[in-house]
Symmetry: C2
Subunit: 147 residues, 2 copies
DNA sequence: CAAACTGTAACCGCATCGGTTGCAGTTAAC
DNA sequence: GTTAACTGCAACCGATGCGGTTACAGTTTG
């Protein structure tokens, strides 16, 4: 529970690679190579992106993954919310307790505070698009890239 | 990795209880009762708050925990940063990779984006103080509370 | 047919969390 | 000075989730 999974990073990385293909497709093995990971993990993550309508997959020989939306219409928040589940903050699962004034009422207020904080994080993620990210990637790297 | 620990919630709950004591002290057992948890966990969390200078502990019979600062000078961010460690987002631990243009340069940019998002969350947490939270607790609950 | 893909399920090893027990150290009450 | 009520800390447990891997069924192309 020391933070979220690395699926967001994997998802954004994959989306940036696909955007760099400009309509073309990539296999899970190619993406896994660039991530230093393995194809099964990539398919697990991209499967969630497909369920969220961000990418498409085609089966069979010559198949692979491609974007289902324009890169400028995909934000980091879209990727994040597609692959991470549940809330960032956790609460105690225990009975609300008790004869204690504070314990009785703090629950809802704490939920509000945590939700506000998470919303702030999500709004910040929503301010960056895959197109914008890719633009900065291509600007900082220089040579002509593969993939 | 499905989120943070519940230590933030425990810490904030405990701080609110201590603030409600207005200078008085509470034992870890009393706080654990209100949380539906156990004293060892409470001491683990409050120990971190003490290291951060938010509370004080006194040993021995009649000992316990009290605030080391005015409630209006303690924000939810103070509690959060004292008990949670590391970043919210994780990255792949694997070799940066590769011959891939995107993989080569995305690392730093992704770190920037994640840091910005986390900072937004932290700033939101910093906008609420323990005093403000307690005020709302006492306003929504009505009777005279114990503790 | 064979080859190259996706899509899943199953299992492993590992880290971390919350929970618990046990015990040493400290202070106050008697 | 003995007892009681605390903190402080180490050790261990079970559960959970993650990333990694193997295996295999299904699908499409050559």
């Amino acid at each position: 529970m020391a933070g979220l999974s690395s699926r967001s990073a994997v998802a954004i990385h994959a989306l940036a690679m696909l955007a760099n293909r400009r309509g073309g497709s990539l296999t899970s093995a190619e993406i896994a190579d660039s991530l230093g990971s393995n194809p099964v993990l990539v398919r697990r993550v991209l499967g969630r992106l497909r369920d969220a309508g961000l990418v498409r997959s085609t089966e069979g020989r010559g198949g692979g993954w491609s974007l289902a939306r324009a890169p400028r219409d995909i934000t980091l928040y879209d990727a994040y919310t597609a692959v991470e589940e549940g809330q960032i903050f956790s609460r105690h699962t225990h009975p609300p307790s008790s004869a204690c004034e504070v314990g009785r009422t703090i629950g809802v207020l704490l939920d509000d505070e945590f939700r506000s904080a998470e919303r702030a994080l999500e709004e910040q993620l929503g301010r960056t698009t895959i197109a914008g990210l890719l633009q900065r990637i291509l600007a900082s790297g220089n040579g002509a890239g593969s993939h």
